[in-house]
């Protein structure tokens, strides 16, 4: 160390041309000797200049090293760490969705996805061309990929860009074979969401697809990254936070080619904390029984469009929800073939809408509201009779009964069983719009149940609503239409199911419930959801019994509107409804709806079984399906019949019948 320091000082000392002090190093002396004259003394001044130049240069370089290594050393050390440390995310397994019997309805299957790292892709165009050929990418997809590759700058060029997820086995084989021609292309195993039941219960289970840029910015801090999948519709969407789990991270040491180094090196550089394990998502256990879903699907086979909700009136638990037409969530999760999308978009029955929570004119199923309201208000006694001549004159307007011949003298029981419009026109007139609306709300109509997703609240029109929305303002005639479920009232199949369930169970309106519990990945119960009462109905028990008797008569009595659809031996109460869509016909002429089918009435039937101590409520809604009694009731009764036989394993109506698995409780309840 000593010599260089001397060497550095010497030329500077020489510049000063001072006589050599005593004890000066030899080099120093020589320098002075030089400057005081030799044969090459003409170079003297040059030596001075060149020494200055060369000393300054070295000081300058030394200064630069001081800046880089000492002043900015930390910063560059960090950068060198970034160079060799790569962080990989370890995907967390998404939670499973299971039905009440433990059948898996949303699973994860192994799949392979293809990604590309721009930095390693060398000749990007050539690589892309080959990749596009192997994966049969369409030009817009290639252009998009190209763009994101070009936009990757700096360290981003080391980050993998997803090209395509869930490639086929053939594509996988193809890519593996041509691996060497595809620099920078990686194939990774990544679980893909899979729905073993395909279209069955698709609306309530939902599907998944890629998160949008907007959603990504809304969810900052929640661990989402571009290219992540997120739940769409149904349970997948509602329970996204629980299902998702938490991605793990692994820090590995790599070289400039992205090749991972050995474990020893990794430990050496990063210590032990290189890995955070992923936390798998939670499993969701539904209240739904997939077997019943299948039964309902089969029961709806003959119909184009409709919805069925089956619930347990004792708890509000949903046993099945079917919306038709359905879609295949496996197609919607991942790459949706264009033909499928076009086909679904052009379907007039809108397969993507969940009709169980969409609102429609309820028709005569709504008459229970009017009946209970009138009873509760004391406007009518069970014995009071009204004469139905087939029409009802209100002011100057004539309101027709569906039975043009008239029902003759009917009391409440007969009016409900035979669905006499005139009786309820009268009740509506007596009640008035506001009371009718209030009782509808008591039964849960006009507001969301909070079950799931994009639920419609339905509509319970009031005077104020009509003032705002009707062209001519509120007219008293509207009350009469509303009293029979026509007019502007709209309810969802779900609301009807719950309201009827509350009437049948003695007045408890439950919150509907799709999820019975949440389990951890190793099967431990984390949350157990008990049934929750939403509202206690204000009706007297005898009034509820009265209505239930009338509903039983709908099926059991010869004049009942569903009598011809009954299956002897199946104890069932219910109410038919045929909602006129005639109003739509006017719109149809304007070109909106041209298909004749869509001019038909909506058919409704809500059934309760058994009428006393009921265990199931089923609402069948057939969009443009015709008559409630003729079309909807047989479907509902068939579903209930098969529910007893195939899901519960009992013979309905047979008090003593017990099948192999000794289900006495169920068979008792079935009576």
């Amino acid at each position: 160390m000593k010599a260089p320091i001397v060497g550095r000082k010497a030329p500077l000392a020489g510049l000063r041309s001072q006589p050599a002090p005593a004890g000066c190093p030899r080099f120093f002396e020589r320098m002075i000797h030089l400057l005081s004259g030799t044969e090459v003394s003409e170079y003297r001044a040059r030596f001075r200049w060149i020494t200055i130049l060369f000393s300054i240069s070295f000081l300058f370089l030394l200064g630069r090293f001081w800046w880089l290594q000492v002043l900015r050393g930390e910063h560059y050390l960090e950068q060198s760490r970034d160079n060799f440390v790569r962080e990989y995310s370890l995907p967390a397994d998404r939670g499973l969705i299971k039905d009440a019997q433990g059948r898996v309805v949303a699973a994860n299957r192994p799949a392979y996805s293809v990604s590309i790292t721009p930095y390693f892709a060398q000749d990007t165009q050539q690589t892309l061309d080959r990749l596009a050929a192997h994966l049969e990418l369409d030009p817009p997809a290639i252009a998009k990929l190209r763009e994101s590759i070009d936009q990757a700058k700096g360290l981003k060029r080391f980050q993998q860009l997803l090209v395509q997820r869930d490639i086929t086995r053939e594509q996988l084989a193809l890519l593996e074979t041509h691996k060497l021609e595809l620099p920078g292309v990686h194939i990774q195993a990544a679980a893909h969401r899979f729905y073993p039941f395909n279209q069955t219960a698709a609306h309530l289970i939902g599907h998944m697809n890629e998160i949008s840029a907007e959603e990504l910015s809304e969810r900052t801090g929640l661990g989402y990254r571009a290219g992540n999948y997120i739940g769409r519709k149904g349970i997948e969407r509602q329970y996204e936070g629980l299902l998702r789990g938490q991605e793990g991270r692994e820090r590995v040491v790599v070289n400039a080619k992205g090749i991972q180094r050995g474990q020893a090196k990794t430990r050496d550089l990063l210590g032990e904390a290189g890995r955070t394990e992923p936390v798998p998502g939670k499993d969701i256990i539904l209240t739904v029984d997939m077997k019943l879903e299948r039964i309902i699907e089969q029961a709806l086979e003959r119909f184009e469009s409709g919805a069925v909700v089956a619930a347990d009136p004792r708890s509000g638990r949903i046993l099945a929800m079917v919306s038709k037409p359905s879609f295949n969530p496996n197609q919607w999760t991942g790459r949706l073939p264009r033909e499928v999308k076009e086909q679904i978009d052009s379907n007039p029955f809108k397969p993507m809408i969940d009709k169980t929570i969409w609102s429609y004119f309820p028709g005569s199923t709504y008459k229970v509201v009017t009946a209970l309201a009138a009873l509760n208000e004391g406007l009518v006694t069970p014995k009071d009779e009204i004469n139905c001549p087939g029409y009802y004159l209100f002011g100057k307007r004539l309101f027709r009964c569906w039975d043009r011949g008239g029902h003759g003298k009917v009391n409440l029981h007969q009016a409900l069983a035979q669905s006499c419009d005139v009786y309820f026109y009268r009740m509506g007139e007596l009640l008035g719009m506001e009371k009718l609306a209030r009782y509808a709300q008591e039964l849960g109509f006009g507001s969301k149940t909070g079950l799931i997703g994009n639920e419609s609240p339905g509509l319970v029109p009031s005077k104020a609503w009509h003032e705002r929305h009707s062209r001519e303002g509120f007219q008293h005639g509207f009350t009469l239409s509303t009293a029979v479920g026509q007019g502007d009232t709209r309810t969802t199949p779900l609301q009807l199911t719950l309201a009827y369930g509350a009437i049948a169970n003695g007045g408890f309106l439950y919150y509907p419930q799709l999820v019975q519990r949440i389990e951890s990945a190793n099967g431990e119960t984390l949350i157990d959801y008990p049934p929750r009462i939403r509202h206690r109905l204000p009706f007297k028990p005898e009034h509820l019994h009265l209505v239930m008797d009338a509903l039983t008569a709908v099926v059991e009595e010869e004049k009942g509107t569903a009598y011809r659809s009954r299956i002897p031996g199946i104890p069932i109460a219910g109410k038919t409804g045929t909602a006129q869509v005639r109003g739509l016909r006017r719109r149809a002429t304007e070109g909106e709806i041209t298909d004749k089918v869509q001019w038909q009435d909506h058919a409704w039937f809500t059934g309760i079984s058994p009428p006393t101590n009921p265990i199931i409520t089923v609402t069948v809604f057939l969009e443009n399906g015709g008559s409630g009694g003729k079309n909807a009731a047989p479907v509902a009764i068939n579903i209930i019949d098969r529910y007893y036989r195939e899901v519960l394993g009992v013979i309905p109506g047979d008090r003593t019948a017990v099948l192999e698995d000794d289900r006495e409780d169920d068979s008792d309840q079935a009576n």
């Binding site: 030089l34 030799t38 044969e39 070295f58 370089l61 090293f65 880089l68 290594q69 060198s80 160079n83």
Partner: protein, 361 residues
């Protein structure tokens, strides 16, 4: 030989040996990933170079004055040959193959240029200053190899040759007109070089230096990684054989042009202080030999060798610390490569010869 034995400049030998040893030790680390036996080859070259240096030093340097034209002629011939039959490596043909060995004529040309230019100035004294006309032959002898080397292409060696010549020129008195014309010519030649002399990749390197953000990933990548390596060494370094930038292959050309980056990363500012001090001492020593030389030729040869080492150190270090564009210049005795080692050690041999024969009048 007798005179050498009596007058060996041990200081110079010691500094040279120290740098060469540091170079070999560092090369072992720098080449560990790419070619782990490079340092052994380097030892062979250093020994061979040492033998050459002793041979060169043993002969009175005045013989070189006499034969400098022949040496120059041989070098020019090799430069022409390399363009015709040269081995192409990474797009440049810089090597002449002799059996298994490859020689870079451009490296040896540096020595030839020192000799031929020193001889010119020593022989053609113009106490009143050189006119342009006087300088014409010297400029001619510069331009021939400079253009040939540029054609290989080897921008780095071209620059070193030109800078050696300029350094020697700086020692001579020039007429004011000559100064003006030469300066003007230099200014004019810069855009001409840019448009006609440089290849696209060379231009890109220079552009990336001027605008680092724009070329962050292209040609700027290497320069950036080099700066990261140097900076991350901090004060004491990461330790020998612990250059993450090297074994991670983030550094380019770790054996040759960027060998100092590995050194700086592993040994930190302290290591750099030692190495730069050694270089400083070597150059100062060469200048001292120049100043005590017996005659003008000897002095100019020593200045030429000092310039050779100085400019190579300056350009290489400047490049490694990101202050100069990446032009491909080796670091004397640190970078791997036979021709480079031989050239520097022959230069040291010349210095020893000048030093040993300084007392002969």
């Amino acid at each position: 030989m007798r005179r050498l034995k009596e007058n060996v400049d041990w200081g110079l030998v010691l500094v040279t040996v120290l740098i060469a040893l540091l170079g070999i030790v560092n090369l072992r680390s720098a080449s560990l990933v790419a070619d782990s036996t490079a340092y052994i080859t380097q030892i062979v070259w250093v020994i061979l170079g040492g033998v050459f240096a002793i041979l060169v030093a043993a002969i009175d340097y005045r013989h070189y004055e006499r034969y400098s034209h022949i040496i120059y002629g041989i070098c020019v011939l090799m430069l022409v040959l390399v363009l015709i039959i040269g081995r192409e490596v990474k797009g440049s043909s810089r090597w002449l193959g002799f059996w298994e060995l490859g020689v870079q004529p451009s490296e040896l040309t540096k020595i030839a240029m020192i000799l031929v230019t020193a001889r010119f100035f020593a022989g053609a004294r113009r106490p009143e200053g050189y006119s342009l006309k006087d300088l014409a032959p010297a400029i001619g002898t510069l331009m021939v190899p400079a253009v040939l080397i540029l054609l290989e292409p080897d921008l780095g060696s071209t620059l070193v040759v030109v800078f050696i010549f300029a350094s020697l020129l700086f020692f001579e008195r020039l007429q004011r007109r000559t100064w003006l014309v030469l300066s003007a010519a230099t200014l004019v030649s810069i855009p001409l070089m840019w448009y006609f002399g440089l290849h696209d990749y060379q231009k890109e390197r220079i552009l990336s230096f001027l605008d680092p953000d724009r070329y962050k990933l292209g040609s700027g990548w290497h320069a950036r990684q080099s700066v990261i390596a140097v900076g991350s060494g901090q004060f004491t370094g990461k330790g020998y054989l612990h250059s993450t930038q090297t074994w991670g292959r983030f550094l380019p050309e770790t054996r040759t042009d960027f060998v100092l980056a590995t050194y700086a990363e592993e040994h930190g500012f302290l290591g750099i202080l030692v190495l730069l001090a050694l270089y400083f001492f070597l150059i100062a020593w060469a200048l001292r030999i120049a100043s005590t030389a017996r005659d003008r030729f000897g002095a100019l040869v020593a200045v030429g060798v000092a310039a050779l080492i100085f400019w190579q150190v300056l350009f290489n270090v400047g490049m490694v610390v990101g202050m100069l564009p990446v032009v491909g210049i080796t670091l004397p005795l640190m970078s791997y490569g036979g021709s480079s080692v031989l050239t520097v050690l022959i230069g040291i041999g010349l210095l020893l010869s000048v030093s040993a024969h300084r007392h002969v009048y």
